[in-house]
């Protein structure tokens, strides 16, 4: 995979976060994951419903260059995160082995502007669930 500078930033921050969270360290940002393309490439024709996947992200980013996000999907084998408005939407792939204590991960992402962030979790039975959140990136000021 060709790392863009943006990807490197995101993964670098994620690695730091993971280092501090040993219980969650079973999840790793897989350097070999194919993040080319968008959600449709990952789903490959399958439907993603809503279910036990929590995507946590701020409503308004404090700093669009480093937005903390986390995903949590009990029973997932893999979670992918996409910033749908970025030039390269794929942000991260987290794969969870059978010994993972929790199927949760945190990282930071850079967002080019106000956009939807989407997480898709592949469950052990091969089904997919998804969650979406709009993150606003604003020029700020004028708060009362």
């Amino acid at each position: 995979m060709n790392f863009t500078r943006r990807d490197t930033l995101a993964l670098g921050a994620g690695a730091t976060a993971l280092a501090l969270l040993p219980l969650r360290a079973m999840a790793q940002a897989d350097p070999n994951a194919e993040m080319v393309g968008g959600p449709d490439d990952f789903l490959a024709g399958a439907d993603a419903g809503t279910g036990d996947l929590t995507l946590t992200a701020p409503e308004i980013a404090e700093n669009g260059n480093t937005v903390p996000i986390s995903v949590d999907a009990p029973g997932a084998v893999e979670i992918r995160v996409y910033a749908l408005g970025n030039p390269t939407p794929g942000i991260a792939t987290f794969r969870f082995g059978p010994l993972a204590g929790a199927q949760a991960a945190s990282t930071r992402v850079r967002l080019a502007g106000t956009q939807d962030v989407q997480a898709i979790a592949k469950m052990a039975d091969g089904s997919y669930v998804t969650a979406m959140k709009t993150v606003k990136v604003t020029i700020g000021g004028c708060g009362g």
Partner: protein
């Protein structure tokens, strides 16, 4: 001036007459209901717990005038809902008689005339009298400060918040949460907070680097045992501080609504035996309404930030929301009956602080004078006079900001002026002197540099659209709780129903009557930039210089903003 007896008819005790037996029972309050002074002071103490709420004082130690907004547009699910009801509609909704003290205290319309009759409001020595009288009824009442306390005046600026800390310590609050306090800078905020004799709460104040809570400096909650009831007070600081205010001044801190963490905290305190859960919030009213619908288990939210004053609580599920105004103009008292870990009923009163009616507390008066003494001559210097009502509150403009924009246009030789849509800042009535203190009351901040820069027409539109979405996004969680940036030298149309990017149209340069050209560059002067390294004279000096030249200022109502879609 009104007599003490008249004042008692004002005290909005109608909601106090209700709610004794539980929820959902309030009829329209009769604001004209006759009360005696004894009734006011006794409040017919109810239940076993009393909460006293003050918020958004903005360093107003002295009595002031404060005109409530006439334009406060609600969008999405909050269209037409309180607090987005103003003027005559507000009075009709709450059964308030035109011209009554409640009219003057709570709504806009005939403000200058009523202000002549009813006089100033607020003053922390008057607030102290009210707090003391509540404590006489209920010695263990909890006093909770919703924040925006250490900001907004000449003395607060020059003492870096110390005047307010000293005065509030005299009031002896039990807990506080935060917003503008952080614009004193991380170091100063930490210094003040570490020495506070009461709790500094914020479940949503996190370390920015690790996105982790900071329980030593800003604990999420504190337990109090009052009236035999185990009470948890959870703090909620302003969620959008690093966006609405300069992030570089407090880079170590991160905020956000974090309602999932709020739920976790509520669950945690309930598990520890909390029988009453109170959220001391600086979210803003609509954000709190939404949060109350998502987070279960909060009994009372003491709202702040959006400066709304409501004579009755708003009920969301089983949560009551209290809105206590701003600038020291109101104190809310909420009495609660808590039995077997459940809130069984409440009695509420929004007490307006009529400065000429409520006797000042002498101890507090001298404490306030002590803070002001070193600056007395500077504060009192008369810079000019006003022929017009000068006020700020309103979604789009106010005469104070029109005057500030005029000052920017002329003193900074600009085509277009921008003034931030903050909601603090008292009013002046026609005939008033304008003192240096008055100017600082509407401009004081730690990043007041008045910049002068070139912007394309396209970028000016981007700014208006961006700020517009902070107010008119139909989802309250995406609102920041301020008002629209004020514009001088330019007109525009705003359709509040449209999405971001489509709200602003018909931008016109007033000096020529020509449409703003997206590609053309204009000289723009403004203040309160969130960007580090902003250069320029301080806004209060710009305004002072302008007013000196004017002598007497006259600001006629302006129509440079056309609002559609209401």
């Amino acid at each position: 001036m009104i007599s003490r007896r008249d004042f008692l008819q004002v005290s909005m005790a109608a909601s106090a007459m209700l709610g004794a037996s539980g929820f959902g029972n309030w009829a329209r309050l009769a604001a004209q209901q006759k009360l005696t002074q004894d009734q006011l002071l006794q409040f017919d103490t109810f239940g076993n717990v009393s909460l006293i709420h003050v918020t958004d004082i903005h360093a107003q130690l002295m009595p002031i005038y404060f005109r409530e907004p006439s334009v406060n547009i609600g969008v999405g699910g909050n269209k037409g809902a309180v607090p987005h009801v103003t003027g005559a509609d507000f009075r009709k909704l709450y059964g308030i008689e035109d011209g009554s003290p409640s009219h003057y205290a709570l709504s806009s319309g005939d403000f200058s005339a009523l202000a002549q009759g009813y006089g100033r409001v607020g003053g922390m020595d008057r607030v102290a009298t009210v707090v003391n009288s509540i404590r006489a009824d209920r010695p263990d009442a909890l006093l909770l400060d919703g924040g925006d306390t250490w900001h907004g005046s000449y003395t607060c600026y020059h003492t870096e918040g110390q005047d307010m800390v000293n005065v509030m310590n005299g009031l002896k609050p039990d807990a506080m949460t935060f917003h503008w306090e952080f614009t004193l800078g991380s170091e100063r905020v930490q210094e003040l907070v570490e020495n506070l004799p009461f709790a500094a709460l914020g479940q949503n104040i996190f370390d920015a680097e690790w996105d982790e809570p900071l329980p030593d400096l800003f604990p999420p909650y504190k337990f109090f045992e009052r009236g035999g009831v185990k009470i948890a007070v959870i703090g909620q600081a302003f969620p959008y501080m690093p966006i609405a205010n300069p992030r570089w001044m407090f880079p170590e801190f991160s905020f956000g609504i974090r309602d999932e963490n709020m739920q976790a905290m509520v669950d945690e305190v309930r598990a520890q035996g909390a029988e009453l859960v109170v959220c001391l919030s600086h979210n803003g009213f609509d954000v709190d309404k939404k949060m109350a619908s998502k987070v279960t288990g909060i009994d009372v939210i003491l709202t702040g930030h959006t400066h709304d004053a409501l004579p009755e609580p708003v009920l969301v599920g089983d949560t009551i929301l209290i809105a206590s105004g701003s600038n020291g103009k109101f104190v809310s008292r909420v009495d609660l009956d808590v039995q077997n870990g459940r809130m069984m009923g409440f009695r509420h009163k929004l007490i307006p602080i009529f400065s000429d009616v409520i006797a000042p507390d002498p101890t507090m008066t001298s404490l306030i004078q002590e803070q002001r003494a070193p600056y007395k001559a500077d504060l009192e210097e008369v810079i000019g006079q006003t022929d017009s009502l000068l006020y700020r509150r309103g979604n789009f403009n106010g005469t104070w900001d029109d005057l500030i924009c005029d000052a920017l246009l002329s003193e900074r030789e600009a085509d277009i002026a921008m003034s931030p849509g903050v909601r603090w800042g008292p009013s002046l009535i026609p005939g008033d002197d304008i003192t240096r203190e008055d100017i600082w009351n509407v401009t004081s901040m730690t990043y007041g540099e008045a910049y002068r820069s070139e912007m394309t027409g396209e970028f000016i539109k981007v700014i208006l659209e961006d700020v517009g979405d902070n107010i008119f996004n139909p989802d309250p969680y995406y609102q920041q709780g301020g008002d629209m940036v004020r514009i001088g030298g330019m007109g525009y149309r705003c359709d509040v129903t449209k999405p971001q990017g489509e709200r602003i149209s018909n931008m016109t340069l007033l000096s020529t009557g020509e449409a703003i050209d997206p590609a053309k560059t204009y000289v723009v002067a403004g203040w309160a930039s969130v960007n580090e390294g902003t250069e320029g004279p301080q806004i209060w000096d710009v305004v002072e210089s302008h007013i000196r030249k004017q002598g007497t200022v006259s600001i006629a109502p302006r129509d440079n903003v056309e609002v559609v879609g209401i």
